[in-house]
Symmetry: C2
Subunit: 349 residues, 2 copies
């Protein structure tokens, strides 16, 4: 096979940092190497091939949704959260994005470096438990491993989630004229992380909004049901990457109105100083929603009535042209919104 030889120090193809960033290089690695020979299962509705947020398996008359994520964020503690809150939120939200807002159970696989302060591990555990309570999601199975000093830097956490959905919301169901909503402000998580990593102090309002939003999504689904065509949380690849993925998989174009995208002035300012586009940055407390035009007003009303959806906005719509692409109307012209080929900022989720 012809894998990219990024980071090669010889002639043999090696893994590069971009392979883990969730973008094109990841899709290539996962598609070619990891999913290549995977076992076919006839009964699988949404499997590894679909590269959606989670897999769906029919059990009796219910849809069981399963999703997994490893969290390697550095620093482990940041303004607005920590790796524990992120790990729970990330998995709960991936389930919610498939329509499984009721979490049956989470598993927690912790790998920690020898000599890691136990007090830090306690803080992380407490934070996980708080996020679990917030999401009404129990940790049902755990595993703990320790690696030697020099073998692992800090702590990594894998969380896998199992949930039940009455209605599945995969990436592929966006239809022309559907309205694109975002449930909150864009870019806070990634920009605050990177600002902290650069050692730059911004205002106290610049903080990660990492949180479980299955309650917000549940109220949306309750109100709009099957009119909710697509749900996706713009994590590693940001809003730009996620919308491109939806456009590609749903075989439509997407047009955004730039001035409607909610981005706080703190995030805008920090992004400008750091040379980062908030649309290309990881989030973990918001979702993108594709909803039938007849239900868009209702959806927006329900989202805004929820404490986690106050900043929700209609930011664009699905169009027939430019299939597989995202166009931004800036007010003075139109441009393509590209997805990052590789994410230049490793370990922010």
């Amino acid at each position: 096979m012809s894998s990219p030889a990024e980071g090669a120090d010889g002639d043999i193809p090696r893994v590069g940092l971009a392979h883990g960033a969730g973008g094109k290089a990841t899709r290539q690695l996962v598609g070619d190497v990891l999913a290549g020979g995977h076992v076919d299962v006839a009964e699988l509705t949404v499997g590894l091939d679909a590269m959606d947020d989670g897999a769906v398996i029919p059990v009796g008359d219910q849809h069981l949704v399963i999703t997994t994520d490893s969290h390697v964020i550095q620093p482990a503690f940041f303004r607005g959260g920590d790796i524990g809150r992120l790990a729970i939120s990330g998995t709960v939200n991936d389930l919610a994005m498939m329509g499984a807002t009721d979490v049956l159970g989470l598993t927690s696989g912790v790998i920690v470096e020898a000599n890691y302060p136990i007090a830090d591990l306690e803080r992380i555990a407490a934070s996980m438990h708080d996020a679990c309570a917030e999401a009404d999601a129990p940790i049902v199975s755990g595993d703990t491993k320790v690696m030697g000093k020099g073998e692992l830097d800090g702590v990594v956490i894998n969380t896998t989630g199992v949930g039940v959905a009455e209605q599945i919301t995969p990436d592929v169901h966006l239809e022309v004229d559907d309205v694109i909503l975002v449930t909150g402000q864009v870019g806070s998580h990634g920009i605050s992380l990177l600002a902290a990593r650069e050692g730059i102090e911004f205002g106290a309002d610049l903080r990660s909004d990492v949180r479980p939003i299955n309650d917000l999504i549940a109220s949306l689904i309750d109100a709009c049901g099957a009119d909710v065509h697509v749900l996706k949380d713009p994590t590693r690849m940001g809003v730009a990457g996620s919308l491109n993925e939806i456009a590609r998989k749903s075989e439509v174009g997407i047009e955004l109105r730039e001035e409607r995208i909610p981005i706080s002035s703190d995030v805008k300012g920090a992004g400008e100083m750091l040379g980062l586009d908030p649309l290309q940055i990881a989030n973990e407390g918001i979702a993108l929603v594709g909803v039938a035009p007849t239900a868009a007003a209702k959806a927006l009303e329900v989202l805004r009535a929820h404490p986690k959806g106050e900043d929700a906005a209609a930011i664009g719509k699905a169009i027939e042209d430019h299939t597989g692409h995202v166009i931004v109307d800036t007010g003075i012209g139109r441009r393509f919104l590209r997805e990052p080929a590789s994410e230049p900022h490793p370990r922010i989720c």
Copy 2:
């Protein structure tokens, strides 16, 4: 709280290697730190508190079993298998030990060091897929992260499994007079790993027997049903640790007949040279079974008729005395079989 301050280089309590080895120190860390504040769920039959191989959640009229494991074995490739085969087998077998021999789905969370050879990752993926085919277990959801050089040594894999069980076989159900069976030869996996790590070459027959055994367990359950009281795979803490755990949780004693424990002469010889007791060493291709005395002969017959159970043996029984302990009858006397306080061999699973 009063956590052990192993590996402390100052006054603050820090994580030690023993915390991840699956023994007493792990139980303390998980019990005190990680499970401390976990969310209670009324409907949870077997939860994190039970520290069994997996959690059980009723869904409709079925038992959903969920289990997670992170695999950090070094070296990643060894005689008889590799980290990929181990990761699949470990999770499939944990499900089987709860009675869930039908695997609904596995998730695979791979974290790999930047610069890792892609060919090695392909070998691992191929090996995972082979083990999945053997276990009839699909990988339904995956996640890939890359950490920088110096941040992670090699590759670690978290596998989480979801299965369905008609009948649950937790650790706590061993009854006095139950017969203890082991489904195959003891110690091959751990001893070959450690021999390889020491650079010692033994005969070609010394190899890990890592394999999924859900098919073997399914045939046992088919034949003996509710007479199978306990199933446990003696992984990180070895046969000694697992039997002590069963005795403790079931509140009975266990008496073993030493000469009946199947251990190959290669494993015995290598164990003697390395100063290791095969009963204290990790396995990943065998199970311990507690079965009602009336069904013991049938169980043994069924196991031995299966290609993965040819070496199955009845090695002891549950007794009223010595509650919570394991006694070995050596032929010339009786001794306590202690569980290792800490596992001296990190990263063999």
